[in-house]
């Protein structure tokens, strides 16, 4: 049994009296010491999936309509609120994309970490404060003894993201969910933050779910990858297997769209069209309007998930087929 198991997750948005599916049949698992990358473009459902795991889809318009999420054997979807709260921020923690908006601007950095520690670990203020300084040292904030009393606006964006990491790590979580943790950061800072996360994982054996739109970040940091397109997992495999042979035309299209720093191409092979909106009624495979391989079959039937190679799952009628 893996630490986190997501099975056939379904999420829908209610809009004008209709339920529109935004996440459909998403399954994956993550174990201790393992990093799963979820990659995809805006609107593919990757962030909603992470919010569902954290139990943050509390609103009335977005809700989980099916599937299971199990953490350490517990069913998170039926867990009483009180028990769920004891886990979140404690054994399971999340780093959000926007370090500018996810820290409270009117509280000192240290106090925001201390609050979490006192709530979950029942520490005295003084002990919690010492622990906060320790955590800031761990995430390599310079002068942690002074910074603990700074307000979020007094530190840089990269440092704010490190504070978020420190806060997430404060109770030694078993599972860390990082939703685009480096997207707002410069590349040199991104590297520092990713290195830091890898280092912490090595030390504490944390399981990480890393959500990103950047295939480069995913390729360099994750053990396994799930590629999402319009609410479904298009392709999933270990990072090595996935990049060894891309099975889904969307993944190939995504990769060909990226201008890389280490190679020259005259024209990028862009994927034509755009991601269909939720309102658009689409039969068959969600990618078929943009896919060069699409046939009548693709526009009529949603492909089942099949095994392209052992451990390499793909949702496509023609896995591995390349246009010539």
């Amino acid at each position: 049994m893996a630490l986190l198991e997501v099975e056939n997750l379904e999420i829908a948005v209610s809009s004008r009296g209709k339920l529109l599916p935004v996440v459909q049949g998403v399954s994956f698992d993550v174990d201790d010491n393992e990093t799963l990358g979820i990659v995809g473009e805006s609107g593919c459902g990757k962030s909603l999936t992470s919010l569902a795991i954290m139990g943050l889809l509390g609103g009335t318009t977005v809700r989980i309509t099916g599937g299971n999420i199990r953490f350490d054997g517990m069913d998170l979807l039926t867990l009483p609120e009180k028990d769920r709260r004891a886990i979140m921020g404690n054994r399971m923690a999340m780093i959000f994309q926007e370090p500018m908006t996810s820290l409270n601007p009117v509280y000192r950095i240290g106090d925001q970490i201390i609050e979490n520690l006192r709530r979950h670990k029942n520490l005295s203020y003084a002990t919690a404060r010492d622990r906060a300084v320790e955590l800031l040292t761990l995430v390599r904030i310079p002068n942690p003894g002074e910074r603990v009393d700074s307000f979020p606006h007094q530190v840089s964006g990269g440092q704010r993201q490190r504070v978020m990491i420190a806060m997430a790590l404060s109770c030694d979580p078993k599972l860390l969910i990082a939703d685009e943790p480096t997207t707002a950061l410069d590349v040199t800072v991104q590297k520092e933050v990713l290195d830091l996360m890898a280092d912490l994982q090595k030390r504490m054996g944390t399981a990480i779910v890393l959500i990103s739109h950047d295939l480069g970040v995913i390729a360099e940091t994750c053990d396994k990858v799930a590629v999402m397109y319009r609410g479904r997992v298009a392709e999933a495999a270990s990072t090595a297997d996935l990049f060894a042979e891309l099975a889904h035309p969307y993944t190939r299209g995504l990769l060909n769209s990226i201008p890389f720093v280490d190679r020259d191409v005259e024209w990028l092979e862009a994927i034509p069209g755009r991601v269909p909106t939720l309102e658009e009624d689409l039969t068959g495979c969600a990618f078929h309007p943009r896919c060069a391989l699409a046939t009548d079959l693709c526009s009529l039937t949603v492909p089942d998930t099949s095994q392209f190679k052992p451990g390499h799952a793909v949702q496509c009628h023609f896995p591995g087929k390349v246009t010539s």
């Binding site: 473009e41 805006s42 964006g157 410069d186 590349v187 040199t188 800072v189 991104q190 590297k191 990713l194 739109h213 950047d214 295939l215 480069g216 970040v217 390729a219 360099e220 940091t221 090595a240 990049f243 060894a244 042979e245 891309l246 299209g253 995504l254 990769l255 060909n256 769209s257 990226i258 201008p259 890389f260 720093v261 280490d262 020259d264 191409v265 024209w267 990028l268 092979e269 862009a270 994927i271 034509p272 755009r274 991601v275």
Partner: protein
């Protein structure tokens, strides 16, 4: 080599700010601090660097959106930094800017034909709306959009489509220099690739010169002829694209290139 279209020498743009606190000491921020470069006709020069390096301020100074503190900038041999707004107006057609945010850079209350048509009248390129609409329709087709969209408003379009409209608004004036400030940064990769290809094609076909400002080194490699790397208001290295990417000389350029996560396709041979 032919005469450069744009020549910038020792450009400085400094800002005065109030220091921290009520009685904080006033500070001078040297956003651009002695930048020099040339752009030849038909050439694409990229300015690359991390946030706060001053790359956007260079673009904004060249379009008179910020006031230069000192230095010189010549466009076709004429110094234009010291021009009054009235003197600069005719040059505004020739020096155009593509902005980053496709949601903020189109007026939500104007139809697409008004957004694209107004500059044509202001710069005296058209006399009647019939004439303007013909030009707008042709331009919309060039950027890969249906001419019928001219009767619609910006909120009806996706980010990628809005950026195409922003590009059409610039190119319809037949500028000589386009300054593109993070023109594709807000787009998803699959859309970014389409827009990048479009910008590259339009640049080749029209022969316009371009100052391409970006933090994304992959994008920069794809689009540029030459690259200038900026750090703390100064250009630390400038050269042909391949020299910068394959044989960078400055430590900062090497650090930037070394920080980028890479993808290896296929099995690694060991």
């Amino acid at each position: 080599m032919s005469e450069p279209l744009l020549r910038i020498a020792d450009l400085k743009t400094h800002f005065r700010t109030k220091g921290a606190g009520l009685f904080g000491e006033k500070k001078v921020i040297k956003a651009v601090d002695g930048v020099s470069f040339d752009i030849a006709p038909c050439e694409v020069l990229s300015l690359v660097g991390e946030s706060g390096c001053g790359k956007s301020t260079v673009g904004r100074t060249l379009t008179h959106l910020e006031k230069a503190t000192s230095g010189e900038a010549q466009f076709e041999g004429r110094d234009f930094l010291s021009m009054t707004p009235a003197e600069f107006r005719p040059l505004r057609r020739e020096i155009q800017m593509i902005f980053q945010d496709p949601f903020a850079s189109l007026n939500p209350r104007l139809k697409i034909e008004q957004t694209l048509g107004e500059p044509l009248f202001i710069h005296g390129l058209c006399k009647t709306w019939d004439e303007a609409r013909t030009k707008i329709a042709a331009m919309l087709e060039t950027v890969g959009m249906d001419p019928k969209v001219m009767a619609r408003h910006p909120h009806e379009f996706s980010g990628g489509q809005r950026q195409r409209i922003g590009i059409a608004r610039v190119m319809i004036l037949k500028p000589k220099l386009v300054i593109a400030d993070e023109a594709v940064s807000a787009l998803d990769v699959s859309i970014q690739a389409q827009v990048l290809n479009l910008i590259k094609k339009l640049q080749r076909d029209s022969g316009v010169s371009m100052l391409f400002i970006s933090h994304d080194l992959g994008v920069v490699r794809h689009i540029s002829d030459r690259v200038a790397v900026m750090f703390e208001g100064k250009i630390v290295e400038i050269g042909e694209k391949h020299q910068i990417f394959e044989a960078p000389e400055h430590d900062y350029t090497r650090k930037l290139l070394g920080s980028i996560p890479r993808v290896t396709i296929g099995r690694e041979v060991t």
